[in-house]
């Protein structure tokens, strides 16, 4: 009886094995239908191996990761993240005690609070993200041109835009990977130290914050690529990008303040509508800066208690319950900001694309 049972089991196993091997054979067969060894023998087989675009991306990513520049930038950003995490840790207990209503989002506080000695995580990323983007893009095209590699690469069977697209995609991939890693590491460290696991909503909020950050850095990356297409000297394009960055980080706010003083309605005579219009106007002007867009989007996503980004009248607030917004609503609130950042990124890319396609491919001249 026992023996028979074992025999039947072995038979079953055998048949299973047979079917598995036939499946393997089938898989092999279907795999070999793809451009296989026969096509590979010919040197002219264009479909074997990765596409030229893939090759270029691989090369660019490898270049970035090997470069000292990237390691330095990564070091700076990692350090600031550790620093902001440290200050957040110092003040988190107090923060939890002080406002008991939003205690649910402890992990998010890691990114948004500070003890005042150092900026918050958002502040750091908003300030240093552009530097990373500029650092990775400012010599994208003009260094190839100056080294004489541009015409050599262009003589290979690739489309002219492949190079530009590969530069952009590769840098964006490196940046995305870096920010996702940093963000998740910060979250993980915070969880370890505080001991409260993040909820799913918190996780979504952090991820969407990171995505917004990537868009924001992508804008600066594209801006610097545009300058690298326009200017022959890497130093010139780096300086122009940094000039734009400094303008939006420091001077834009100052100019806005000056402007605000100039166009402010007279406090004694202004109607409520005047004040509202004035406030909306200033908000609109402020949102011309990618820095403002990023700050609004990031803080709304990370602070569920933010319910509105514009001015609210007492009537509008009347009767509202001061509860945190659900994730979907927060996302809806900052959707215009995200769209704006994406649009700015695409405009820069389009400009550099058109300029690059129209440029002459010459030697080092």
């Amino acid at each position: 009886m026992e023996r028979r049972a074992t025999a039947s089991i072995t038979a079953k196993l055998k048949s299973l094995g047979a079917s598995a091997s036939s499946l393997a054979a089938k898989v092999k067969q279907s795999l070999s239908k793809r451009p296989g060894p026969s096509a590979r023998d010919s040197v002219r087989a264009h479909h074997s191996g990765p596409s030229p675009f893939g090759v270029l991306i691989r090369k660019e990513v490898a270049d970035h990761i090997r470069s000292w520049r990237f390691i330095l930038l990564l070091g700076i950003i990692a350090l600031t993240c550790v620093a902001s995490l440290y200050t957040a840790m110092n003040s988190i207990q107090e923060a939890i005690r002080s406002d008991s209503e939003t205690n649910d989002f402890v992990i998010l506080k890691l990114f948004t609070i500070s003890d005042g000695t150092l900026p918050t995580f958002i502040g750091f990323v908003g300030f240093l993200g552009p530097l990373l983007g500029i650092g990775m893009g400012f010599d994208a095209i003009n260094s190839e041109r100056n080294k004489g590699t541009l015409s050599r690469i262009m003589a290979q069977p690739i489309h002219r835009d492949d190079l530009l697209n590969a530069k952009f995609v590769a840098s964006l991939m490196v940046i995305s990977l870096m920010f996702l890693t940093l963000g998740l590491l910060t979250m993980a460290l915070g969880t370890l130290i505080i001991g409260i696991p993040p909820t799913f909503e918190e996780f979504l909020r952090v991820i969407s914050f990171l995505v917004v950050t990537i868009f924001y850095v992508a804008f600066w990356l594209n801006l610097s690529i545009t300058f690298s297409v326009r200017f022959r000297q890497p130093a010139t394009s780096a300086l122009s990008s940094i000039a734009v960055w400094l303008f939006f980080s420091f001077f834009f706010d100052m100019i806005l303040n000056l402007l605000a003083r100039g166009i402010a309605p007279n406090a004694a005579t202004a109607t409520m509508n005047d004040v509202l219009n004035y406030q909306n106007m200033m908000l609109w002007l402020g949102r011309l800066s990618p820095y403002t867009l990023f700050n609004e989007a990031a803080s709304t996503l990370l602070m569920p208690s933010i319910r509105n980004l514009g001015p609210l009248t007492t009537e509008q607030v009347y009767g509202a319950i001061a509860s945190p917004l659900p994730f979907g609503q927060s996302l809806l609130l900052v959707w215009p900001q995200i769209t704006g950042l994406t649009a700015a990124t695409l405009i820069c890319f389009a400009i550099s694309y058109v300029m690059f396609l129209r440029q002459e491919i010459r030697g080092r001249a």
């Binding site: 090759v55 590699t149 290979q156 002459e360």
Partner: protein
């Protein structure tokens, strides 16, 4: 085998109103080495860029291997190798890695590419530097690596833009010898542009003279000098004494001679005057221009005519004279004119 692989017809391209290439028509056959000669700024690089589809012509047609490079640049670039002037490599990668990148961009499978890159590095004599960073390469090594880089995709045509620029004479000779050897071995069509005529003269089957966007003449070196110096391609200079008007007539009657100058042999200030018979016992220098090589006949008649022959030299116009006649002066038209005038007097 006379298959036309590059066929350019009435090609025109201008930049900011100045014509860089002006009505260029040119055919290149499979397997030949064609030298595109011209001074800087003649439009050589522009023509080459248009051949690869990297620049668009204003008018005219180009046909490379049966394809129009403006419309189908990718298939053209797959079969045509191009070495830009002053080629650059990724300096933090080794020579081998640079070649591998080109191979990958051409879709050559990894294993084949490795073999080919190693083999080519050996052929251009860079095996010892294969794993050195390209940034440490000397100018000559870079050009040789560039040649390997062009050949790694097994092209049918290679286009070399100023391949000898900035290399020392030995390196230049090596490089040109290498180009010739490789093109013969692999039956490659080579189009090379240069302004260094001597070097090109050594290896080219045919040359085209390209000045200010126009092709002045083309052909092999001897047929070029025949067309360009149709009247008097050969100059025979004889130093002798015992010159007489009878001898003069004798020499003039030799077939092919159509110009005779008599000058004082050792006195430079004595300007040449044709058919001016000097005293019989003074040494004179005869400059004979002829369409065929008749130096033995000249020597025979001088000796038979009672003259003493001190020296006899024959000179054929080479590319150097062609160069001076057409290129010197560059963009300046007056320069060219005065130069050709100078030569008609010589």
């Amino acid at each position: 085998m006379t298959e036309t692989v590059i066929d350019i017809h009435e090609l025109t391209k201008s930049y900011n109103g100045t014509k860089a290439v002006d009505g260029l028509s040119l055919q290149i056959q499979r397997g030949e080495i064609f030298g595109l000669l011209g001074p800087n700024g003649a439009g050589k690089s522009t023509t080459i860029l248009m051949l690869l589809g990297l620049s668009e012509p204003d008018s005219g047609t180009i046909n490379v291997l049966g394809l129009n490079p403006t419309r189908e640049p990718i298939p053209v670039k797959r079969r045509v190798g191009y070495l830009p002037d002053d080629v650059g490599f990724y300096e933090d990668r080794t020579g081998f890695e640079n070649l591998m990148l080109t191979a990958r961009l051409n879709g050559i499978p990894e294993e084949t590419a490795r073999g080919r890159a190693t083999e080519l590095l050996e052929q251009v004599g860079l095996t010892h530097a294969a794993n050195k960073k390209a940034g440490a390469y000397s100018r000559g090594m870079r050009q040789r690596l560039g040649l390997a880089d062009v050949l790694v995709k097994s092209p049918e045509i290679i286009i070399l833009d100023e391949p000898t620029l900035g290399i020392d004479p030995t390196g230049m000779e090596e490089l040109l010898g290498l180009i010739r050897k490789l093109s013969r071995e692999q039956h490659l069509t080579v189009l090379l542009s240069s302004h260094q005529l001597h070097q090109v003269q050594q290896i080219c089957d045919r040359v085209g003279l390209f000045v200010r966007g126009q092709l002045l003449a083309q052909g092999d070196v001897s047929s070029l000098s025949r067309t360009l110096f149709a009247d008097d391609p050969i100059i025979i200079t004889a130093e002798m004494d015992g010159y007489s008007s009878r001898l003069q007539d004798e020499i003039r009657s030799i077939e092919g001679v159509h110009h005779l100058e008599v000058g004082a042999s050792l006195q430079a200030d004595n300007s040449p005057a044709e058919a001016d018979v000097p005293e019989p016992d003074t040494a004179v220098r005869l400059i004979i221009r002829s369409s065929t090589d008749c130096s033995p006949e000249v020597a025979r008649r001088i000796v038979e005519g009672g003259g003493r022959l001190f020296s006899l030299s024959r000179q054929q116009y080479g590319l150097d004279e062609i160069y001076h006649r057409y290129f010197a002066g560059g963009d300046d038209k007056h320069g060219e004119k005065s130069d050709s005038k100078h030569y008609s007097q010589a």
